[in-house]
Structure formats: C-alpha cells, structure tokens
Amino acid sequence: MNTLATGLSFAATPLVAGLFDAPVGVAHYLVVGAILFTSGVVCMALKRNALGVLMGIELVLNGANVNFVAFSSPYLRGEGAASLGLDGQLIALFVILLAAAEAAVALAITLNFYNNHATVDIDRADDLKG
C-alpha cells in the first residue's frame, strides 16, 4: 500500500507539480467550457425526456458563460493577450437572464405538451409529421 502510494505520487509528480505551481490561464477555463459545452450538446441530442433536453441547453449556455468570464478576467491572461474587459461579465449576466427566461417558456411548453399528450417523451411529439 505504501509503495503503491509512493509510486503513484512519483508517476503523478511532473504533471501534478506543474498543475499546482503554474498559475491558471484562460486556456484552462476554455477546457472546462469545452467540456461543459460538449456535454450539453450530447445531452440535447441524446435525451428523450424533454426536461433532459432543457438541462442540456442549460449546460451549453453555462459553457459559453465560462468562456466569457475567462476572457474578461484580469487574473488569467498573459502579457499582451487580448481581453474583453468588463464586457464579458456583462454578456455573461445577460446570458444568465436570458437562460432564466428561456427555461420558463420551455418549461411551460413542456407542461402543455404533458397535459395534451400525457408524456414527456419528445419522440412522441410527431403530430406535424407529414
């Protein structure tokens, strides 16, 4: 057990030491935003529950927000890098507000669909199919 722990720490040291010493940059935030965005896209494409699709949309908007905040941050960029300044934070605020509005309307539509069809499976929403 002890040897396993030392071996693990030795194997992880070069990677981990860099992660712990080096300051976090915009690229790190972009990675997190990319993972959130991809998860949201896959969630939107994959889920058959209408509320699952809504959650995917929330994840996508949140990934975009992470990118906006990272580009506007005064801590993360190196010398000479472009920056959004305060505009990024304001855009992120507007995205949060629009996400709230979108969630309200989408939830109302989902409840209406549930009232009319007695299901939330979006594969059953094929009334317009020719």
Partner: protein, 244 residues
Amino acid sequence: MMSFGVVPLAGLVAAVAVDVPFAVVNWHSVLFLLFAAVACACAVAVVLADNVVRMAFYLVLSLAATAGLFFLAGAEFVGAMQLMIYVGGTLVLLVFGVMLTAQAPFVAIKTSAGDRVLAGMVGAALLAVLLQAAFRVEPWRRPAMAAVAAPAATPIGMALLGVRVDEPAAGVPTTAVRSGYLLPFEIVSVHLLVVLVGAAYLARAKRRRTPRSIDVAASSVGPVVTAREAARSSASALVSGGGR
C-alpha cells in the same frame, strides 16, 4: 463514476503531501482544479444518468461549481448571480418541472445503444476541435499573476446605467467612446416580463368555463324565449302600463 474521480484526486493529495512543499502550492490552482473537476464530472454525469431526478441533481452541482470558477476568475458579481438566479431560480423551476411530470414510465427513458455510440463519437470529435482551439494561443496559456483588481460590482452597476467607469480593454484607446448597457438592460427586463407572463399563460390550468350568472338566468327562463321576444313582451308591458 466515483472511482474515476477519486483516483486522480488521491494522487494529487499524495503528491502534495510528499513532494510539493506546502507554501509553494498555488491555492488558486488547487481550488481551480477542485471546482473544474466537480463541474466537468457532474456535467458528464448529467449525460450518463438515465434518471431525470439524478440529472437535475448533477446539474445543480455542476452549475454551483461553475459559480466557484467565476469567483476564482475575479467575476464575483457574476458568480453570485449565477448562484442566485441559475441555481436558486432556474434549476428550482426545472426541479418543479421534474416533479410535475415524474410519472413512473417517464422518470427513466432509455436511449438506444446505437444512439449513445453515435453521440459519443460526435461529442468526442467536437471536444477534440474545441480543446485544440483552446491551447492554440500562446498568451492565454502562460498567464502572469496579476495584481488584485478592484471589485467589479460597481462598474457593472454603472455600466447597466449607461456609464462606463471601468478601464478600457487592452488595445482600446482611453478616449474612445464606449457604449453602456442601459438599452440592453431595459430590453432584457421587458423581455423577462413578457416571457414570464407568456409562461404563466401557457402553463395555466385548463378549467371548464363556469357558467356566468346571466347565462344561468337566461337558461332558467327557458330555451324558447329569445331576446327579441323578451324585448317585445317587455315593450308591450310598458305600453299597456302607460295606457292604463
């Protein structure tokens, strides 16, 4: 899921304890790794979970960890709004939707395995493109530790009122006229009002119309009595009353 998260974390803790001196540890990076791991793991768990209630729970965790990332990036006002509006408002709305529609057959709707494989391939391709783009630009990769900036709440509030008091972005001359955000603020507020009224209208309970009192009175007189006959009889009553 848990073992996936725990093993690298144990490696990190061991490395910190054994090799990295305590004072050298950059706590900004450590907290970033913690919040980023929680946000990404919970976002992936939202995709992998089939139960819609668990999906909502993982989404709450992911968005809350993202608020932590906003705090670490120096956007404390946006982080607080994320916690209050997103986690406190939007997700509560979603959880209410889950509770209202969580009948037994719809709690876990399975997706077919072929669709899962296809979505995984498309997602991996998209992620590869995005990650490559993320590490492309050199100055984004090697940040300098900046001095502590002033809190951003006051500039944000002034910008929403149409007055910019913050420093211009890099490359923009100081004398340039910069637009405030008063008009988008007004548009968004009216938009939010309209959307909430529309949502309340869409999601209203469909009740059968209760008969009004005048309809009840008319139907009690009898279906054969039309309005014209009623008027004529009342007029003749008036005439006869006047002649009397």
